[in-house]
């Protein structure tokens, strides 16, 4: 029996749903179509099989997610991952935080940024540009929304163009969506050790 992961980690856990996922064998043609357009095409994950209960939403959300996170130009891939990670820290989605911390590290090579965020969460101290991104994205993720015009102005002062600022809004916001699915519909489990 795998243990539930309660602390932030860059080691990606598995994910186990609280509701019964759709079974591939009995999926409708609409569900099958919706499941094809997901970020990962290495088989269908329990997460996607769970979301297949609502194929209309899944069919639209997957391409939207991919465009926001992996679109060309604008905010760098690493900084989009930082936006995703910021939201995931506020919403305490351990699974999303692990995936996007690990992607941030592979894009940027900056383990220490992730260590600092996981240690101090919203009080993390980062270098200026990352701090501006992190502050804005975390404050956009809270309810009530805490982000102010001052936080937005800090993005421009840190050198982000309007397009980069927009991409940051979108990457934090799409994780306001993803976290509310992944963290609330299931739980992260530690991967079993290799024998």
């Amino acid at each position: 029996m795998s243990e539930v992961v309660h602390n932030f980690t860059a080691t990606i856990p598995t994910w186990s749903p609280y509701v019964t996922p759709v079974e591939l064998a009995s999926a409708t043609s609409e569900q099958l179509a919706a499941m094809k357009v997901t970020p990962s095409n290495k088989g269908v994950s329990p997460y996607v099989l769970t979301l297949a209960h609502d194929p209309e939403s899944l069919a639209v959300r997957s391409p939207l997610f991919n465009l926001i996170m992996y679109g060309k130009d604008g905010l760098s891939p690493a900084e989009r991952e930082l936006g995703a990670l910021s939201a995931s820290v506020v919403n305490r989605c351990i699974y999303c935080a692990a995936v996007h911390a690990s992607r941030f590290i592979s894009y940027s090579g900056r383990n220490n940024v992730v260590e600092e965020i996981f240690a101090d969460e919203r009080d993390a101290t980062l270098e200026a540009r990352q701090q501006a991104l992190f502050n804005f994205a975390t404050k956009l993720s809270t309810t009530p929304i805490e982000a102010t015009a001052e936080d937005a102005r800090a993005l421009g002062e840190a050198g982000l163009s309007e397009l980069e600022q927009l991409d940051l809004v979108l990457s934090a916001a799409i994780f306001g969506w993803a976290n509310r699915l992944m963290h609330t519909l299931g739980e992260p489990l530690a991967r079993s050790e290799a024998p």
């Binding site: 609280y18 509701v19 019964t20 769970t50 979301l51 209960h53 609502d54 209309e56 939403s57 069919a59 639209v60 959300r61 391409p63 939207l64 465009l67 926001i68 679109g71 130009d73 604008g74 506020v90 919403n91 305490r92 989605c93 956009l140 993720s141 309810t143 009530p144 929304i145 982000a147 102010t148 015009a149 936080d151 937005a152 102005r153 421009g156 163009s161 309007e162 397009l163 600022q165 927009l166 991409d167 940051l168 809004v169 979108l170 934090a172 916001a173 799409i174 306001g176 969506w177 993803a178 976290n179 509310r180 699915l181 963290h183 609330t184 519909l185 739980e187």
Partner: protein, 163 residues
């Protein structure tokens, strides 16, 4: 075609932010398609279009977005299930245990999703919400929170550019 997010944000096309939005037109188009899939699905399951509009308005009120609240109130006004209107306000109940439980879950997902646990899903199952409807409800709450944050972010960027 102008999307809901663009209409509410009211960003001038010639501004730098307007140009950035133009560069992200496909994202705005897909956001609009997501709105339609979540608010007006062809297969609504146990969440009627009216219930979806009521819960969306309720979540928008939690976050204090008057323009988006008005949008969902206009949907609710056209829905036939008027007994759900009380759910459009935070704290409001309608007396139907299924719908009231869904409203409480929408509150949780809006206000403090980090506190959500297995027990919250179990509570929905206990009152008889189907597993498919649990996923539909979660997508609704998650989408509206996405939309609220895109709009909040755009308003802030617009304000800074206007200074």
């Amino acid at each position: 075609m102008t999307t809901l997010i663009e209409t509410i944000a009211g960003v001038r096309a010639a501004s730098r932010l307007g140009q950035a939005l133009n560069a992200r037109a496909e994202i705005l188009r897909l956001s609009e398609a997501a709105h339609d899939a979540v608010l007006l699905p062809r297969e609504p399951g146990g969440l009627s279009h009216g219930l979806r509009a009521a819960l969306a308005a309720r979540m928008c009120r939690h976050v204090g977005d008057e323009a988006l609240t008005a949008h969902y109130e206009s949907y609710l006004a056209h829905a036939s299930d008027l007994d759900l209107a009380t759910l459009a306000r935070p704290g409001g109940v309608c007396g139907d245990s299924l719908h009231d439980a869904m409203a409480r879950h929408a509150d949780l997902l809006t206000l403090s999703p980090r506190e959500a646990t297995r027990q919250d899903i179990a509570a929905l199952k206990t009152v008889g919400v189907s597993e498919a409807d649990i996923v539909r409800l979660s997508e609704l709450a998650a989408f509206v929170n996405y939309q609220l944050r895109v709009l909040a972010g755009l308003r802030l960027l617009k304000e800074v550019e206007a200074r």
